[in-house]
């Protein structure tokens, strides 16, 4: 792949830092800043935010001076299936209960890979669900409800 006239990755990173700094900075501004003796909750984060914005700007400036490598491909399929897995677990662990929730969480995550076919995915999810129920719920005695209220008939 060809190199670019400026480092896009670094430039993007710098912009990201500036945005994060601004995000925290604005919120700090709304908090009580206080004095040096009695610093308020906003004092320290405001100072840090300013530093972060400056650092981000410096990163951007540096990026324009040197060529960089391209960012490369993104794991789109991975993001679609991996990131929701823990969210799904969080949404259902109390309602559905531990066993069905962890089974479905694993099942969802399986689809992130093209190599995983539905049947092995099902099998793997069952194995994971059984194993983690035995280890965490029975052996370690974690206070999880195995089957939640949504499932009680």
């Amino acid at each position: 792949m060809t190199s670019q006239s400026y480092d896009k990755a670094d430039a993007a990173a710098g912009v990201l830092f500036i945005l994060i700094g601004l995000g925290f900075g604005v919120q700090s501004w709304w908090l009580d800043i206080g004095t040096a003796l009695r610093m308020g909750p906003g004092y320290f984060p405001l100072v840090l935010s300013v530093i972060l914005v400056l650092l981000g700007a410096a990163v951007v400036v540096n990026a324009t001076k040197q060529p960089g490598e391209p960012i490369g491909s993104l794991a789109a399929r991975g993001m679609i299936y991996i990131l929701p897995a823990p969210i799904f677990f969080g949404l259902t662990v109390r309602g559905l209960g531990f066993v069905p929730s962890i089974f479905l969480t694993t099942f969802i995550a399986c689809f992130a890979s093209l190599k995983m076919k539905p049947l092995p995915a099902l099998l793997l999810s069952v194995v994971v669900a059984v194993f983690s129920t035995l280890v965490f719920s029975y052996a370690l005695g974690l206070p999880f409800r195995r089957f939640g209220p949504w499932l009680s008939f």
């Binding site: 990755a9 670094d10 993007a12 990173a13 830092f17 994060i20 700094g21 925290f24 919120q27 908090l31 009580d32 040096a36 003796l37 610093m39 308020g40 909750p41 906003g42 320290f44 984060p45 840090l48 935010s49 972060l52 650092l55 981000g56 410096a58 990163v59 540096n62 490369g72 491909s73 993104l74 794991a75 399929r77 991975g78 993001m79 991996i82 990131l83 823990p86 969210i87 677990f89 969080g90 949404l91 662990v93 962890i102 969480t105 694993t106 099942f107 399986c110 992130a112 890979s113 093209l114 190599k115 995983m116 092995p120 793997l124 994971v128 983690s132 965490f136 370690l140 005695g141 206070p143």
Partner: protein, 501 residues
Amino acid sequence: MELLSNLALGFSTAGSLENLFFCLIGVILGTLIGVLPGIGATATIAMLLPITFQLEPVSSLIMLAGIYYGAQYGGSTTAILINLPGESSSAVTAIDGYQMARKGKAGTALAIAALGSFFAGSVSTLLVAIFAIPLTVVALKFGAAEYFSLMVLGLVSSIALAHGSILKALAMVVTGLLLGLVGTDIYTGAPRFNLGIREYADGLNFVALAVGVFGIAEILRNLEGEVQREVIKTKVSSLLPSKEDFRAMIAPVLRGTAIGSALGILPGGGAILASFASYTVEKKMSKHPEEFGHGAIAGVAGPESANNAGAQTSFIPLLTLGIPANPVMALMVGAMIIQGIVPGPNVAAEQPALFWGIIASMWIGNLMLVILNLPLIGLWVKLLTVPYYVLFPIIMAMCSIGVYSVNSNVYDLYAVAFFGLLGYVLLKLRCEPAPLLLGFVLGPMLEENLRRAMILGRGDPTTFLTRPISLTLLILSLAVLVVVFLPQVRKKRDEVFTESD
């Protein structure tokens, strides 16, 4: 020789068949749970605490201590194999350990970690026995100003963790510091940066952040080009380090042990800095600093030793003052109280068998761990031959359970997803996650001690310079800055010259 008779008492207590058994149970449990990704020592002990209530006080504490350093070992294993540190200390191990694993040297990395930890554990146990009581006096000299200066030293050192741009590493540290401030301001009770979500009132969960920026980001990276995935080669020629490897690890292990033992004594935060500090020192001392971040042996040996030494010496403030140095120790205090022992300055005098028994059991536990772990290395490495598309759903399941088990807080799981995305984006932008993690751990402490020092010093900023320990630490920070930046500047100049040629 009071020490000898004390140690004899300790070994006779810890060496009883019953206590040996519980020590073994502890280290096995610790190792097993430590290798489950996303579950660190804190979660493990919190989960297992109730089990120990039925035991004798000595046995239960020996078992808990076993779980603690067993989980440290186990946590390093996942850090090396799948880039998933369970505790802040093994975040450093992940940097070079995982790179070694990618080069097919997972067995070597694991063996180095185990041997280095064992050596460090043995030495620091002896230090605990000799210096436990006098050293606490030193630890108490550390007030808010000293802690602040210590944190500054730690942060300044952390930029050496970076093997890319120092500017980006600094920005990552600051981002981490800011993320660490999410939650409630302890001075006023004002909620900060929690987007109105009460579940984040106590801050973001460390495990959630670590799992996200390290683990999930790494999984996503591996899913990118599924076809040409090169990660772990199945041909693992030798599990044990070669003679050369041994020679390369001796000095880092010695230095790591010294750094870890010293920092571990400080209640609150000292031990966290140990592995970071050791990494910095190794990178500076190395003749090949460019190897760091690409699988340097010293980058595993030093921090792992420091981490384990710090884990041992952090028992000093616990045993002599009743002050927990970290969340795990806080759980141990709880266990002691439930057992009817109120930890404090009198424990050593009132319960000598317990006090020295725990110390002796630490060494025994470390010995058991190394015996247990060396043969297991083969097994762990085999685990890597499992196809990745089978491995990562399992990792996702374990991480979800692990994160949830810490506090039964579902918002921690949402944080995992968020930090997974952030971590992946940062990875794509070639920013390294380790400095971010250090900033995250130190952020709240840095602010807390800065503000406390200002209150205690009546708003006079010279308080940091008039207190000798604080001043020394700040001078050291300055020295580190100079050492880090000078070569950088010189290199820049060289680059400029070559370009103009």
